[in-house]
Every structure is written in structure tokens, then in C-alpha cells.
């Protein structure tokens, strides 16, 4: 089973991820309160979310449909009957003293996703309610609780321990992110907590028959930290085992500031959650008609979109896969190519635009570059109004201000000089001013051609149509 290229010092890391995804339903999983992020504390709270005595949960059908959609997208089994269980523990942000979740009969089981040709199995995905939020830094000597999040629907996606490296874990996580955003069942925003990840990490020797003892790293909230936390944990475990000690089964926390994991609680102090079927919710049947309904309304999945873009716009497989990596980019691309050239659009999205996003560490939906505006820019490159070099400047300006492309070009006089007569005058002047270089070129120093092009661009501030400049220079120098 071991893949040798993932061995570290002869040790095989074995990783499984539990990903919590907040679902984009209108209301909470068991109450009529709005499911929304970023509202004033304790304003989205119903009697049910407070766990008042005598109140009862009623299941949100929307969450069920979203769970089914995830199951369909991961080729999983959808439960004929699912059962909700109570997970009992005391915590101030858990108003009922138990969380309603699914243990033995989840909505989805035995799915899988493909990452670079490797199959990662999904053990199960189950519906559960989120807890409220405890805050310890609002007041000096008091902790407070915000129950807006209490009862928000979560889909917890549990992988099999099929992952063999931190890098693979990130790829898997990105795949899950891609699926849930394509399905529109979650915004997948890790920094706001709408996608959270726990990692189970252990190490073993390649020929060991059993997995090593694992540590669970809780609540990692970015792709970058998932990689760092797992890598730290692998190194820590190797160090422990190689020094002849034993790994303890425990829950650990990742500290992103110190870049380390720390023990939170050992197995000995682990909670006994006393799970049992929730008597307030009878076993819930999922009729085949409902599954069909979800299937018929299922959003286009990444692979389908990729295939379609290749066929419709002649993209190669690599470009199509990069464009389709996240739904926002794919949607952006499709907007842009309504009027602009697809190949050029792909090149600029994957190149300069992507570089800006990375540099500023923002997402496409957060930046000021809008599809229509970007599309105009591509058109102006295509029709020769602006050069690629100028386009870079235009894009920088859009990035800063979001200003209209045509206004930028007009305002700064960025139009390309494609007037042959005008360019010829400029070329003539340059050749006259640089007689020695002309002689050298004619005597065989071909490389000097670039010098003349450079001189033209310098004088025209880069606005000269490069094709035309080449043409004129060749003619005049022959």
C-alpha cells in the first residue's frame, strides 16, 4: 500500500481528514432562524437554538437536499433511512448539552474523490448542527456566548485514511472545496469558518501491517496551515518514535504563530459522548424521488465544466483544468469569453490576473477586476488597440481602481500607434541618429535588431504596434 515517494526518513505518513462544511441553507438545521454569517451577536436565535425546555427540533429539508447533492457528486451511497444521534457534552456554547449529529446511519457513505488519478475514499458525510461561539476576549473577566452559529447546518465529510502526505491532504481539501462550491452548498470560506478541517495523522513503517497510533489535530482553518500542521506533526511523531518513545492517542491543537501542534487532551481524558439515537427525530426516510429531484437539479461539476470548456472554446486540458479549479474563476472566464477571444482570455486569467491575486492574497470575487471590464481589455488587445505591455499597465490600474478599461486607455493616451506613416518617421529618425549601429547591423550583428525596436518603444512610450515596427525596421534595414 505504501507509496515510496511519500516516505519521510523511511516512515509512511497515514492521514485522514474530517472536513466540516457549513451549508448555505436559508434557515438553520432544526429551527426557523436565519442562517447567516456576520450579523450582530445573538440576533439570529430562536427558542430552539437556545435549547429552552420543551422545544423540539424540526429537520430542514434544504440541508437534506444539499447532503444528497454532495453524495451524488462523490459517487456515494445515499441513505434510504438516516438516523440522528445525540452527542452529549457540557460546554457553554452548546445550549442543549448535546449536539444533534449522525453516527451510525449518516446521510452519505462510501463515496470517493479523484486527485491526480488517485482515489481517496470518503467514509461518510453526515449532517449535524454547529455550536455557538464562545468569546473570551470581549470583556475583562467574563466569557460570553454568541448563539448565531448555534444550529447552523454542517456537513461533516470524513475521509478514509488514504492520504499519504501533507501535500496530498491539501489537494484533497481543495477538491472538497471545489465540489462544495460548484454545488453551491457552501461558500467554503475557511477564514470565516464555513469550512474547517481536523486531521488524523499517524506514521508507520512501509511493511507494517497496522496503522500507527494517531493524533487528531483540531480546527485547522487554512489550506496553508493544513500542510504546515501535518508536516509538523509527522516530524514530531518521527522524532518521538525514533527516540524509542511511544505516540499517545490524543487531540492536538495547531498554533499557526509558532507553527507547531500542542497537546490538548489525551485519550485518558477524552470525552465519553454517550451517543444514542435522538428520540425527538424519528428515523428519516429519503425517498428515491427526492434523490432524483436533486440529481436533475444538480449544478455542473468541475469535470463536466472542464470538458465543456475544452469543446466549446478549444482550451487544452491543462488550461481548462486551471480555469475550472474554482467555480468563481470558471464563471469569470465564461463571462469574459462571451465577447472576447478564449485563448487570450485564458492566458491573461492564468497569467497576469492570477499573479496579482497571489501577490495580494485575495480571491477573484474579492478584487476589483470585473468580468465585463476584463473582457473589454482582452478585446482591445485582440484588435490591436493596446499592446500586451500596455495591457499589463491597464490591468494594474483596473486592479487598483476598478476603472473602466476604455476610460483608462483614453485618459492615459495608451492607444497603440499603428499609423504606418507616423511610425516610419520615427524609425527614420532613429536610424539617422544611430548610424554606427546601422552599419554594424548590416555587417551581420543581427542581435542589434532588438536595439532598434527598443529605441522605437522608448520614444513611443511602448505604444508602437510591435508587429508594424518589426515590419518597417526590416524593410528599412534591408
Amino acid at each position: 500500500m505504501a507509496q515510496n515517494d511519500t516516505l519521510i526518513n523511511g516512515w509512511q505518513p497515514v492521514i485522514g481528514l474530517e472536513v466540516h462544511v457549513q451549508l448555505l441553507t436559508n434557515t438553520k438545521l432544526f429551527s426557523p432562524s436565519k442562517n447567516k454569517f456576520g450579523e450582530e451577536a445573538n440576533t439570529l436565535v430562536d427558542l430552539i437554538d437556545m435549547g429552552l425546555p420543551g422545544v423540539l427540533p424540526v429537520l430542514n429539508d434544504g440541508a437534506v437536499k444539499q447532503g444528497i447533492a454532495f453524495g451524488l457528486a462523490t459517487n456515494a451511497e445515499i441513505a434510504k433511512t438516516m438516523v440522528f444521534d445525540r452527542k452529549n457534552y457540557f460546554y457553554p456554547d452548546l445550549p442543549k448539552g448535546y449536539q444533534i449529529t449522525q453516527l451510525h446511519y449518516p446521510i452519505v457513505k462510501n463515496g470517493s474523490v479523484d486527485i491526480d488519478g488517485k482515489n481517496i475514499r470518503i467514509h461518510q458525510a453526515h449532517l449535524e448542527e454547529d455550536a455557538g461561539k464562545s468569546m473570551h476576549d470581549v470583556y475583562d473577566h467574563e466569557s460570553v456566548v454568541d448563539l448565531n452559529r448555534s444550529g447552523v447546518p454542517l456537513l461533516e465529510i470524513v475521509s478514509e485514511p488514504d492520504i499519504r502526505s501533507a501535500e496530498e491532504a491539501v489537494k484533497y481539501l481543495k477538491k472538497i472545496h471545489q465540489i462544495i462550491t460548484y454545488l453551491d452548498i457552501s461558500d467554503g470560506n475557511m477564514s470565516q469558518g464555513s469550512m474547517r478541517c481536523d486531521a488524523n495523522v499517524s506514521i508507520m513503517k512501509p511493511d507494517d501491517k497496522e496503522y500507527g497510533i494517531r493524533a487528531e489535530i483540531k480546527n485547522i482553518n487554512s489550506f496553508k496551515f493544513v500542510e504546515k500542521a501535518i508536516n509538523f506533526e509527522i516530524k514530531r511523531q518521527i522524532k518521538v518514535l525514533e527516540s524509542g518513545e511511544k505516540i499517545e492517542q490524543e487531540t492536538r491543537l495547531y498554533d499557526s504563530v509558532k507553527d507547531e501542534t500542542r497537546s490538548m487532551r489525551t485519550k485518558e481524558f477524552a470525552n465519553d459522548y454517550r451517543y444514542f439515537p435522538c428520540p425527538d427525530l424519528v428515523p428519516h426516510n429519503i425517498p428515491i424521488e427526492l434523490i432524483d429531484e436533486v440529481k436533475n437539479n444538480l449544478s455542473e461539476l468541475p469535470e463536466e465544466k472542464q470538458q465543456r470548456l475544452m469543446e466549446a472554446h478549444g482550451l487544452n486540458e491543462y488550461d481548462a483544468s486551471v480555469i475550472c479549479a474554482d467555480k468563481t474563476t470558471a464563471k469569470f472566464f465564461e463571462e469574459v469569453v462571451k465577447s472576447a477571444d478564449a485563448g487570450l482570455a485564458a492566458k491573461w486569467i492564468m497569467g497576469d490576473l492570477n499573479a496579482l491575486l497571489n501577490k495580494h492574497d485575495v480571491t477573484l470575487s474579492e478584487c476589483k477586476v470585473e468580468a465585463a471590464n476584463f473582457s473589454t481589455m482582452i478585446e482591445k488587445i485582440s484588435d490591436g488597440t493596446i499592446s500586451g505591455k500596455i495591457a499589463k499597465e491597464v490591468l494594474e490600474t483596473i486592479w487598483e481602481t476598478g476603472e473602466d478599461v476604455l476610460k483608462i486607455i483614453d485618459g492615459k493616451g495608451m492607444q497603440q500607434i499603428s499609423d504606418e506613416g507616423e511610425l516610419e518617421k520615427i524609425v527614420d529618425k532613429i536610424l539617422a541618429d544611430n548610424k554606427s549601429q546601422v552599419d554594424a547591423y548590416k555587417s551581420g550583428k543581427d542581435k542589434l535588431f532588438g536595439f532598434f525596436v527598443g529605441q522605437v518603444m522608448k520614444i513611443t512610450q511602448g505604444k508602437a504596434n510591435p508587429g508594424l515596427v518589426n515590419e518597417i525596421l526590416k524593410k528599412k534595414l534591408s
Binding site: 435549547g51 425546555p53 420543551g54 423540539l56 457553554p92 444514542f276 428520540p279 425527538d280 424519528v282
Partner: protein, 475 residues
């Protein structure tokens, strides 16, 4: 006075709603020492009565128009303290109304107070209430039964003609039997549990107390409703139980238990039971003997499942959000002190048993096994109903007993529920009615029907009450 009489007097304007309420409070004051109420609402009740009298035409046709009623203090009442018999909720004012009390309000009834009960409905004698025990109107040293002891005593003492209760393991039927009135536990799911403070969610079911089958039928008509807010609520065709009383169900096959004399039932209760059987034969019905050797394992199953669910249901009382809150240094201290101070001994005992049977390593041995026994009892009843229309049993092993028996023999108290628990485990409807008199105390017996056969068991009880007077006896 029976519900039928009170309603007729109101409808004929013989007695106004206001006079009814005043009469209730006169009786409440005469019976103060019975400790029936946790809270009384004299002012509000009078106000509502006056409103009803002033708008007589709007209320005269309502099923409970102008009828005073008492509710077990387990039903949340908006803006009014709801204690569930516990210190934990001594000052708890719910911002919402239970479906049961709302239905009763809409039907024109007047709530005069909230009745005393065993703490969180855990008890069979009403002695676990934080607000002190209720006294049985039939004898000052006797318990009224539990957990709906206050509601049963209220009707028995003639304060109101009807009251509401809840029955998880017999909490309506046992006090009905001990107080000499009629009480019905409906099919699980017939009455909404919304706003009813949970003890054991899979068995808790609200039901009516009244002097007779008529009162129970009319109140059940009001209480039962399909409720979207309760996922365990049954969606079914609505029937009028009051009208069903007149229906002719023909000659019935009634199941009786083989070897019932070996269950530890007192001679007096058995004698009354045999008398009732004779009456039923006179009415033209016949008996079929049933083998129910699993009966006693019901108690074991119940005393695992009910504590398990209660340990979870009562977790919300942690001092953080509502209810009693102890002074504490840190969060664990807060949990510990709040729950030690707020819960009485019986509740704490059941929470501990419940947490134990659900804990890792014990779940299979206790909880899972108890669920298996529960399914077995359910399928046993299913097979019974292939050959009989209903089952006839005594309600209790004995008549009303002396207070403070619990301390000397706690197991005896749990055994109190032997004959009532099977209907809860299976989710079946059952009605207890007074069927005799011995030692100057009433005895009770019960019909257990098939699912949603409330019409049948009410009808048969009514037919018996047409030819007997046990339900008319008052202390």
C-alpha cells in the same frame, strides 16, 4: 361536577364562567392543605371568565367554553412561571406556550393554575416535588400517585372537572387510579409535545384527566392536534372522540393476562378487577387469555431507557442560560453546583443511572438490550391485537399508599409502574378508570388499546360508566 354538567350549565347560562371560577377558588382555599397547586392565577382567570361572559356568543359553542381547567406544571405557559416541580425552574418564565395549553385556551377553557407534580415527572407518589408532596383527597396521609399527582387530586377534590397530565410510565393512569378519577394516556404522537418539558422523549405523552370518559374524550378532542413543531407528532385523520362515545363497536374480544394473580396485585384490586370483568360479560363482551410472561421485564427496560433519555434531556439545565444558577468560580464548578443545588435526589439518581447506561462499554449491555426488550414488548402487543380488540388490566398493584414509603423501599416504588409501563414502551393508548371501592379508597383498572384506538377504549369506558357509579364517588 362533571365536565358535561359544567358545560351545560354554562351554555344554558345557569352558571356564568365567572361564577365557575369563583367556585374553583373557593374550593382551592378549602383544600389548601392538599398542596395541589404550584401557581394559581385567580386574577387572570377571573378576567378571562368575565371576558367569556361578556362575549358569550363567541364561546358558547366552543368545546371547553367557560370551563375552568388546571394544567400540570410541565406545560410551558407564556409569561407564566413553569417549574416542572423543580427548584431548577423555580423562577423560569417561558416566552412561549405549549401546544397543549394553547389548544385548551383556544377551546375556551380558563386556566386557574398550574398543578404540583413529581420533579421533572420522575416519581410515582408526588413526593419528589421541590414544592412539597401533594396529599390524596381520599386520606391526609396518602399519596395521590405521580407524577401528575396535582392534576389528579385537583379533579378528585372537585376543584375542576378536567385537568391535563403527562404519562411517561403511568403518570396519568396511576394517579387517576389512586384518586378515583378517569385518565387517558393517548397513543404516542397523538398529542404534540411542543412546550412540554421533556423527561423521556420517546415515551412522554400528554393526556386528559376527568371524572369520566366523557370528560376525557372532550378534553382529548381539544388536546390532540397535528403539530409541525413536533416531528414525532402523528399526521392522521381527525376524529371526534366525544361523538365516538355514542358509536356502537359491537361485541368485543378483550384480552386478559394469564396468571395475573401471581403478579403481586392486592386482593382488593383483584376483586374489583374480577367484578369489572363480570360487568363486561354482562355487556356482551368476551375474554381471551393472553400469555404475557415478558410483562415484568418491561420495568427493567423502562428504568434504563427513561433515565438514559432524561440524562440527556436535562443536560440543558447547566446554569448558563436559564433556570437556577449557583455561585461559582469557574465553569465546571458552575455545572456541578448548579445541578447539585437545582435537582432533587431522585432526578440526580436517574441522571446518573442514565449517564451510566449510555457510557462507553456499558451501552450494549444496558441501553441496547433495553431497546431490544422494548421492541419485544411492542411486537408482543402487535400479536395480541391479532386476536383481541383491547387488553384489560388493573392499573396499579394496590390502592393509594402512605407517604414516605419510598425511603424504606425504593424498588417498591419502581414496581408501582409494573402494569402501566408496557403501554408506554409500546406507545399504545390506555385509559384508567375507577372500578371499585375498598378500605374507603378507590381502585382503578385500565383498557390498553391498539394504536389510535382512543375512540374504542373511551367508548367502552363510557359504556361501563353508564351502568356503574364508581366514577361519581367523591372523597
Amino acid at each position: 361536577m362533571s365536565l358535561k354538567n359544567i358545560r351545560e350549565q354554562f351554555r344554558s347560562k345557569e352558571i356564568s364562567a365567572e361564577e365557575q371560577v369563583k367556585e374553583c377558588f373557593k374550593k382551592i382555599n378549602e383544600n389548601k392543605d392538599l398542596n395541589i397547586f404550584i401557581n394559581e392565577f385567580q386574577e387572570d382567570a377571573l378576567k378571562k371568565a368575565q371576558h367569556i361572559d361578556n362575549n358569550f356568543d363567541d364561546f358558547k359553542a366552543l368545546p371547553l367554553g367557560g370551563v375552568p381547567i388546571a394544567h400540570k406544571d410541565i406545560f410551558c405557559t407564556e409569561g407564566r412561571v413553569t417549574t416542572c416541580g423543580s427548584k431548577m425552574l423555580e423562577k423560569f418564565v417561558p416566552p412561549y406556550e405549549s401546544t397543549v395549553t394553547e389548544n385548551c385556551n383556544k377551546a375556551g377553557s380558563i386556566m386557574i393554575g398550574k398543578t404540583n407534580m413529581d420533579e421533572f415527572a420522575m416519581g410515582s407518589s408526588n413526593e419528589t416535588s421541590f414544592f412539597g408532596p401533594v396529599v390524596n383527597p381520599w386520606g391526609e396521609s396518602l399519596v395521590p400517585g405521580g407524577s401528575s399527582g396535582g392534576s389528579a387530586a385537583c379533579v378528585a377534590a372537585g376543584i375542576t372537572s378536567i385537568s391535563t397530565g403527562t404519562d411517561t410510565g403511568g403518570s396519568i393512569r396511576q394517579p387517576a387510579a389512586l384518586c378515583g378519577i378517569t385518565g387517558l394516556k393517548p397513543t404516542y404522537g397523538l398529542v404534540s409535545r411542543w412546550g412540554m418539558i421533556a423527561f423521556c422523549s420517546s415515551m412522554d405523552q400528554a393526556g386528559p384527566f376527568a371524572r369520566d370518559a366523557f370528560g376525557c374524550a372532550t378534553l382529548l378532542d381539544v388536546m390532540a392536534s397535528y403539530d409541525m413543531k413536533d416531528s414525532t407528532c402523528a399526521k392522521r385523520k381527525e376524529v371526534s372522540y366525544e361523538k365516538c362515545l355514542e358509536q356502537d363497536f359491537g361485541k368485543l374480544k378483550i384480552g386478559v393476562l394469564k396468571g395475573i394473580e401471581n403478579l403481586g396485585i392486592s386482593d382488593d384490586v383483584l376483586k374489583a378487577y374480577e367484578n369489572s370483568k363480570d360487568m363486561l360479560i354482562e355487556l356482551g363482551h368476551s375474554f381471551v387469555e393472553l400469555d404475557f410472561s415478558e410483562l415484568s421485564s418491561g420495568i427493567c427496560s423502562y428504568y434504563v431507557i427513561a433515565p438514559a433519555e432524561c440524562s440527556s434531556n436535562l443536560s440543558r439545565f447547566d446554569g448558563v442560560k436559564f433556570g437556577h444558577r449557583a455561585e461559582a468560580e469557574n465553569i465546571n464548578d458552575l455545572y456541578l453546583k448548579t445541578r447539585s443545588e437545582g435537582f432533587g435526589d431522585e432526578v440526580q439518581k436517574r441522571i446518573m443511572i442514565g449517564a451510566y447506561v449510555l457510557s462507553a462499554g456499558f451501552y450494549d449491555a444496558y441501553y441496547r438490550k433495553a431497546q431490544r426488550v422494548r421492541r419485544m414488548i411492542k411486537s408482543k402487543f402487535d400479536s395480541f391485537f391479532n386476536s383481541v380488540d383491547l387488553v384489560f388490566l388493573p392499573t396499579t398493584l394496590d390502592q393509594a399508599f402512605e407517604m414516605n414509603r419510598e425511603s424504606s423501599d425504593p424498588n417498591r416504588m419502581y414496581k408501582e409502574d409494573l402494569l402501566t409501563i408496557p403501554a408506554n414502551l409500546a406507545g399504545l393508548p390506555a385509559i384508567s378508570f375507577p372500578n371499585g371501592f375498598a378500605n374507603e379508597l378507590p381502585t382503578g383498572a385500565q383498557f390498553v388499546g391498539n394504536y389510535f384506538s382512543e375512540d374504542l377504549i373511551l367508548n367502552l369506558t363510557n359504556k361501563l360508566q353508564e351502568v356503574t357509579d364508581w366514577h361519581k364517588m367523591t372523597p
